[in-house]
Amino acid sequence: MQFSKINWFKFAAPQRFYRLAGQIIPWCGALALVLTVIGLYVGLFLAPVDAQQGDSYRIIFIHVPSAWMSMVIYLAMAFWAAMGLIFNTRLGAMLATALAPSGALMTFIALWTGALWGKPTWGTWWVWDARLTSELVLLFLYIGFMSLHAAIDDPRRADRAAALLALIGAVNVPIIYFSVTWWNTLHQGASISFSKGATIATPMLLGMLVMALAFWAYAIAIALARLRVVILEREQHAQWARAELGTV
């Protein structure tokens, strides 16, 4: 075939991907660090105070990136779980299990910072509003995925059962995203939209986008680092894994 000069399935072998991930992690980690410093500098030192919300709005620089990542990671997890299910690749299922804890933590951060932002702006830590409730459901989906996977002893069966849960739960992601337009929520609408562009000031937008990129880089680095441990756990009886762990 003309377009298959790179054999992508080569990297589907856990041992190969283990090495590849090891090369990617330092770059993504360093990128995350640099972008965080730039993003925090723009967000906390350059961006002006908000006319309506005062300085409380600065929570946006972690709230929005973490909320985006909570959804992006879920979609990535569901995608790789599906790949594991359809093509019966071990690596796909391992990637899904490596992504789940990071996604759950991003969801927690989004909810936590949301509560701390809600108190000064809405006067309440929490409301059972469509956006907040669907994000809480996302947290339960991540916890459900991890618990189900941990509850089944045979890893291949655990992969399949958890993949099914991840796929069904994916319905929740568009619900979160569109909740602010579908329902009349207390939560404000999107600050950036594909049709209208951004509705916030430039340094605020810049800080938010740099922080979003920082969260992306961090999520890739930490998920790949966890994936490497998952691969070693699952391949622990293979010669190369034992060599990597220094037990041969």
Binding site: L44, F45, L46, A47, P48, V49, G54, D55, S56, R58, I59, I62, H63, S66, P101, S102, L105, F108, I109, W112, T113, L116, W117, K119, P120, Y218, I222, A225, R226, R228, V229, L232, E233, Q236, R242, L245, G246, T247
Partner: protein, 59 residues
């Protein structure tokens, strides 16, 4: 630069508790996540070493 002094910066216009509560907990959660991955690998490595040593002991 939008601040006149460091105390100004830390006060966050009276929203210090909310802003630093958000940034602080986020930093702590991410640090804990990194530590947990490192610890998970260390536990695996230790378990493999113990198993290898036990095998040697039996022979």
């Amino acid at each position: 630069m939008v601040w006149n002094s460091w105390s100004d910066f830390f006060a966050m216009g009276g929203y210090g508790l909310y802003v630093w509560g958000s940034f602080g907990v986020t930093a702590a959660v991410l640090a804990a996540e990194i530590w947990s991955v490192i610890a998970r690998r260390r536990v695996l490595s230790q378990r493999m070493h113990d198993a290898a040593n036990a095998e040697l002991g039996e022979v």
